[in-house]
């Protein structure tokens, strides 16, 4: 789960990491008031959960009241990568002396939490990682003891020559690590971490992603979810224990298992079609789950054909068949349905579906090809 910059900064503040004076606003009037409170010049930043806000023109310095108004009006009407900007952050214009990068993730290869630092701030860390990986300094936390003080100091001493700055930075690192662990984060990033004119360390930007698997124990974080910014069907799916991601194609895929669901999308593409979605109905599915899945799938008006690819293991094909039958009637589905149901109770499934007007396939290859053919 992601949160906005302004939300991440609220968390930062709670953990004692210094952020600029700033205020989240939803309207131009709010922006005008906030700018007066914070002081002009100020920076107006679009709050959207995608990268590249700056390049898209979503971050602007306002040097006078007029510019505050202009920028606020402009940004609050923007769309960035297709996402409408509904909130902006009005932030004090910090006098930046230097910029650095600080981030924490769980490193899959080392199986440890890693703190990454780079003397260049404000850049895409993945870009740096590709182009000059040696510029990224990494320090691993002990899985059980956490990030020891000397490791936090190591980061500080890497980023800053001045010992006072280095130790102040070490303290920021320790706080960032503490919140990372306490909140089951998957990413906590300060980019850039800046030194201002008075030699103070400030987190100019903030990003925290949370591990979905840890959310059950952080209801306060779950409460921060900006439902407006997320795909409502994806949220709905999650609530019903389904896993759904919308794509831009027209062949709706219903599959059991995440790996098979991805492989099914790939297969549709392989044979020249365009998958409309990823949809994993999970391991132990019931007719209701199939019904729910189809409800979500059909909210996508691009969908023209539905392709069921079920490999029955724990999932029983007859359960899926019953679900299809019920949904077809209840939802009055007119879309052609290609069904490839194999494994546990596949014979029963065939019996259930024999008069349902479906197109059957023995293999997933056959199924994908038939689904594509139906579009012609």
């Amino acid at each position: 789960m992601k949160v906005h910059e302004y939300q991440a900064k609220e968390i930062f503040k709670k953990y004692g990491i210094v952020t600029p004076r700033e205020k989240m606003c939803r309207t131009v009037d709010e922006v005008m008031a906030a700018a007066k409170e914070i002081g002009i010049p100020c920076v107006i930043k679009a709050q959207v959960m995608v990268g590249g806000r700056g390049k898209a023109g979503g971050i602007k310095l306002a040097k006078n009241e007029n510019e505050v108004k202009q920028h606020a009006e402009f940004i609050l009407k923007m769309e960035i990568k297709g996402i409408p900007v509904r909130k902006v952050l009005v932030s004090e214009a910090v006098d930046i002396k230097s910029e650095a990068y600080l981030g924490i993730i769980v490193d899959r290869t080392e199986k440890k939490t890693v703190v990454m630092a780079c003397k260049e701030g404000g850049v895409e860390i993945e870009e740096i990682a590709r182009q000059k990986p040696e510029a990224i300094y990494k320090v691993y936390a002990d899985p059980l003891l956490g990030l020891m003080s000397h490791k936090a100091r190591e980061i500080g001493l890497f980023l800053y020559n001045d010992p006072k700055m280095a130790f102040e930075c070490a303290s920021v690192v320790s706080k960032l690590y503490k919140l990372f662990i306490a909140l089951d984060s998957s990413l906590a990033e300060i980019n850039p971490l800046v030194v201002d004119g008075s030699g103070k360390l400030i987190a100019l930007d903030a990003k925290i992603n949370f591990d979905d698997n840890g959310l059950f124990r952080h209801s306060d974080i779950e409460a921060m979810r900006d439902r407006e910014s997320e795909d409502e069907n994806e949220l709905l799916a999650k609530e019903q224990d389904l896993s759904y991601v919308r794509l831009s194609g027209n062949i709706g895929c219903v599959v059991n298992g995440a790996g098979l669901a991805m492989a099914t999308m790939d297969l549709v593409k392989h044979f020249g079609g365009e998958p409309a979605n990823f949809l994993d109905i999970g391991g132990s599915s019931s007719p209701e789950k199939v019904m729910n899945a189809l409800k979500i799938l059909l909210k996508d008006e691009n969908v023209r054909v539905i392709f069921f690819n079920i490999f029955g293991g724990i999932t029983r094909c007859d359960d899926v068949a019953n679900g299809i039958l019920q949904a077809k009637e209840a939802l009055n589905i007119k879309h052609p349905i290609v069904a490839r149901l194999t494994g546990t109770n596949e014979d029963k499934a065939m019996e259930i579906l024999k008069d349902a007007g479906l197109i059957f396939a023995k293999t997933m290859d056959e199924g994908a090809q038939k689904a594509i053919a139906l579009l012609k």
Binding site: L144, N213, G259, M262, M265, F311, D365
Partner: protein, 289 residues
């Protein structure tokens, strides 16, 4: 021969009285797995599918000499279940539970590393050595004893590929899912090291997916160390960036962890990659004499 599980496996089921635990205990017993004990704290004295239930793993191990454990408890209790099994001297722990927070897995994996114990998963569908033992939730009927090793980050996709391999006339030595989470106990390379020494394994199929760089590391390992033929598949070629595709570990971060880079790494290191599951089975069949 085979790896991880075989006729010597003495299996203990943690969370045996739960819905999934009891159902799959039945399935594993039916397959012929030697299920010797179950554990659900507070339910000692009961039996599930004829298997005696104990209050703790330590007690179960003492009474039944269990050497392998499969975990079916809810995610929030899974890490404690692993600790309990490791503390009780279990040598192989297969964790089926899905949804364990990554930060907990970091601790679990570190703790296990100091013990004579291997963890598969979490979020693994299990391990099957056909004709020997089935540990986990994989459907027993698709397997056939043979010489192909299969290791995968996925569940049903593995079944699909195994099924096609079986239908092509070949069998499997051992098949396992290592789990779809970012932090897991056993990785592809760990399995390949064991397949390398397994006389019955003549070739290995590696089924990868988007996210992380385990496939890339594996490719290099295969090129440098692995003598038997390896075939690959990578799911998620059409997956968008920054979206979790079901599995907690299946996510392209920015531009890292794409299927394309994994496929390239496989091919650069001499691993033949199938475009579709069917093609993987075909490649194995064609290349195995």
């Amino acid at each position: 021969m085979s790896i991880f599980v075989d006729k010597n496996t003495r299996l203990l089921v943690q969370g045996i009285t739960g819905r999934d635990g009891s159902f799959h205990t039945g399935q594993m017993v039916k397959y012929g797995t030697n299920v010797v004990a179950g554990v659900t704290p507070g339910k000692a004295g009961q039996k599930v599918e004829g298997v005696p239930v104990f209050n703790s793993v330590a007690e179960a191990v003492k009474k039944t000499d269990a050497n392998t454990s499969v975990i079916f408890v809810p995610a929030r209790f899974a890490s404690d279940a692993v600790y309990e099994a490791a503390d009780a001297g279990i040598k192989l722990i297969v964790c089926i539970s899905e949804g364990v927070p990554a930060i907990e897995m970091v601790k679990v994996v570190d703790y296990i590393s100091g013990k004579d114990c291997r963890l598969i998963g979490a979020n693994s569908p299990g391990v099957v050595s056909p004709g020997e033992a089935k540990v986990g939730i994989l459907p027993g009927h698709i397997f056939k004893k043979g010489s192909v090793g299969v290791v995968s980050r996925s569940g049903t996709l593995t079944y699909e590929i195994v099924d096609q391999i079986t239908k092509s006339g070949l069998g499997q030595s051992t098949c396992l899912g290592i789990g779809g989470d970012p932090i897991i106990g056993t990785k592809f390379i760990d399995c390949l090291e064991l397949f390398a020494d397994d006389k019955d394994t003549e070739a290995v199929v590696v089924v990868g997916e988007i996210g992380g760089r385990d496939e890339q590391d594996t490719a290099v390992y295969v090129k440098e160390n692995f003598k038997k033929p390896v075939f690959g598949f990578v799911a998620g070629k059409t997956a968008p960036a920054d979206k979790r595709m079901g599995h907690a570990g299946a996510i392209i971060s920015g531009t890292a962890g794409t299927a394309a880079e994994k496929i390239k790494a496989f091919e650069d290191c001499g691993i033949k990659v199938g475009e579709t599951p069917a093609e993987v089975a075909r490649l194995v069949k064609e290349n195995l004499k």
